[in-house]
C-alpha cells in the first residue's frame, strides 16, 4: 500500500488499519447503543436502527396516509385515521419480512443473529411506531377516545395476519395483500352488520376474538420461521 518500505520490524499495513478503523467508521448513535444494551445484542440493535432506511418508501407512505386521514377526519368526523392505520401498519410489518425489504436476504439467513429475531424485532418496532403516530394523528384530529384506543387491538390482529401470510407464502407482497384485504373485509362486514363504519374498531365485544386471532397468527409465525432440524 505504501510507496517504499519502512523499517523491517514496523508493520505499516497494520498502522494504516488502525488509522482507517477510526477514520472510516463512526461510533454508533445513542439510540443504537441503548438498544444494544436493552436487547443485549449489538447486531440486533443495528438491524433495528437501519430499518427505516430500508423501509423508506413505507415510512413516506405512512406519513402521507395518516396526514390525509387526519385531514379527512377533521372534515367529515369519520375517524379515518383509525380506519387507515391498521392497513398501513399491516403493510409495514409484512414488508419487514425478509425478501420484502432485505435484498441481502439469503446472506441474512446465515447470520448468528437469526433472521427470525430480526423479523420479530422489526415487526415490533414498526407496530410500535405506527401505534404512536396513529395515536397522535387520531388525537389531533379530534376523534373520540374510545375509537382512538379502540383500534389498537384490531391493528394488532391485522398485523399478525399480514405477518403470518408473509411468512407462510415467503412473500412480503402476499402478506400486504392479506393484511389489507383482511382489514377491508372486516370493516365492511362490521358496517354491514352493525351500521357505523367504525363498528369493527369500536366494539368492545370484538376484543377477545381479535386477540385470539392474533395469538393464532403469532404461533403460526413462530412455527414457520423456525429452521426445522434435519429430516423434514
Amino acid at each position: 500500500m505504501t510507496d517504499g518500505y519502512g523499517p523491517a520490524d514496523v508493520d505499516l499495513d497494520r498502522v494504516w488499519t488502525g488509522v482507517a478503523a477510526q477514520v472510516w467508521l463512526r461510533r454508533p448513535g445513542r439510540i443504537e447503543r441503548l438498544a444494544a444494551r436493552l436487547l443485549r445484542s449489538p447486531g440486533l440493535a443495528r438491524a433495528l436502527v437501519i430499518t427505516p432506511s430500508l423501509l423508506i418508501g413505507w415510512v413516506i407512505a405512512t406519513a402521507v396516509v395518516l396526514l390525509a386521514g387526519m385531514a379527512a377526519t377533521l372534515g367529515t368526523h369519520t375517524p379515518y385515521v383509525a380506519l387507515f392505520d391498521p392497513a398501513v401498519a399491516a403493510a409495514g410489518i409484512a414488508y419487514a419480512y425478509g425478501p420484502g425489504i432485505d435484498r441481502a436476504w439469503e446472506l441474512s439467513q446465515s447470520m448468528a443473529v437469526s433472521d427470525r429475531m430480526v423479523l420479530l424485532a422489526r415487526a415490533l418496532a414498526v407496530f410500535g411506531l405506527n401505534a404512536v403516530f396513529g395515536l397522535l394523528a387520531s388525537a389531533a384530529s379530534g376523534a373520540a377516545v374510545a375509537v382512538t384506543f379502540g383500534w389498537l387491538v384490531p391493528m394488532t390482529a391485522v398485523c399478525a395476519l399480514a405477518l403470518a401470510a408473509a411468512t407462510l407464502a415467503r412473500s412480503a407482497n402476499v402478506g400486504v395483500a392479506a393484511g389489507i384485504s383482511g382489514w377491508v373485509i372486516t370493516v365492511l362486514a362490521g358496517k354491514a352488520i352493525a351500521g357505523p363504519v367504525t363498528a369493527a374498531v369500536a366494539s368492545p365485544s370484538l376484543v377477545l376474538p381479535y386477540l385470539l386471532f392474533t395469538a393464532c397468527c403469532g404461533a403460526l409465525v413462530l412455527y414457520t420461521t423456525r429452521i426445522p432440524r434435519g429430516t423434514e
Partner: protein, 182 residues
C-alpha cells in the same frame, strides 16, 4: 496530486487523500521514529500521527508538508512517552541496577532518596524532569533528547546543567539528614 493539495483534500474530509498521504510519507516517518523508539511504539506513534493529521489538516499552511508531518510525529512521540513515562520508571529498581549484589534495604533506601531528589526537580512533566528522564534515566544522546522535546540542543544542555545542580543539592541535603540521625 501534490502534497499540498492532498492535505487540503484531507481537510475537506477526503479519506482517500489521507490514504494516499500515508502511502507516500509513512515509510520515511516510520524510519525516523524508529531511530528514536522501539518498533511497537513506532507503530502506535505513527498511528496517532496520522489521526492527528486527519483532525488537524485544516491548520496546514502550504509549504513544507514533510516538515509539518514530522512536527506532528515528534509531538505525538513526546505525548506518547509522557503518557507512558512514569509507569515504566521504577526508581528502586534503578538503584539495584547500580549494585545488584548489594543489600536490598540499601537499594530501597537509595530508591526513596532518588524519588525525593527527582521530586526536587519539579513537577512531573516539567522541562527539567523531562530532560532528566530522557538524558539520565533513558541514557539518550543530547541531540536525540532535543529532537524529541522539540527544542535546540543548547536548551537541553542548560536544562541538564540545572538538573545536575538541583540533584546535587537534594542529595546533599539527604545525606546530611541521614548522617545526623544515627
Amino acid at each position: 496530486m501534490d502534497d499540498d493539495k492532498l492535505i487540503c483534500a484531507i481537510a475537506a474530509g477526503d479519506d482517500t487523500a489521507l490514504r494516499e498521504l500515508f502511502g507516500r510519507h509513512a515509510p520515511w516517518l516510520a524510519i525516523r521514529l524508529r531511530s528514536l523508539l522501539p518498533a511497537s511504539d513506532t507503530e502506535d506513534v505513527l498511528q496517532e500521527t496520522f489521526l492527528a493529521v486527519w483532525q488537524g489538516a485544516g491548520g496546514y499552511r502550504p509549504g513544507s508538508a514533510g516538515g509539518w508531518l514530522w512536527g506532528i510525529a515528534r509531538r505525538q512521540a513526546a505525548l506518547f512517552l509522557r503518557r507512558r513515562g512514569p509507569a515504566t520508571l521504577e526508581l528502586p529498581g534503578l538503584a539495584a541496577i547500580s549494585d545488584p549484589d548489594g543489600d536490598p534495604a540499601e537499594a530501597a533506601l537509595a530508591g526513596v532518596v532518588m524519588a525525593r531528589a527527582a521530586a526536587a526537580l519539579g513537577p512531573d512533566g516539567s522541562p527539567e524532569r523531562e530532560v532528566w528522564r530522557l538524558v539520565y534515566l533513558e541514557d539518550r544522546p543530547v541531540a536525540e533528547a532535543a529532537e524529541l522535546l522539540g527544542v535546540p540542543v543548547g536548551t537541553v544542555k542548560s536544562r541538564a546543567h540545572r538538573v545536575r545542580r538541583r540533584l546535587r543539592a537534594a542529595l546533599h541535603m539527604d545525606s546530611a539528614t541521614e548522617g545526623g540521625a544515627s
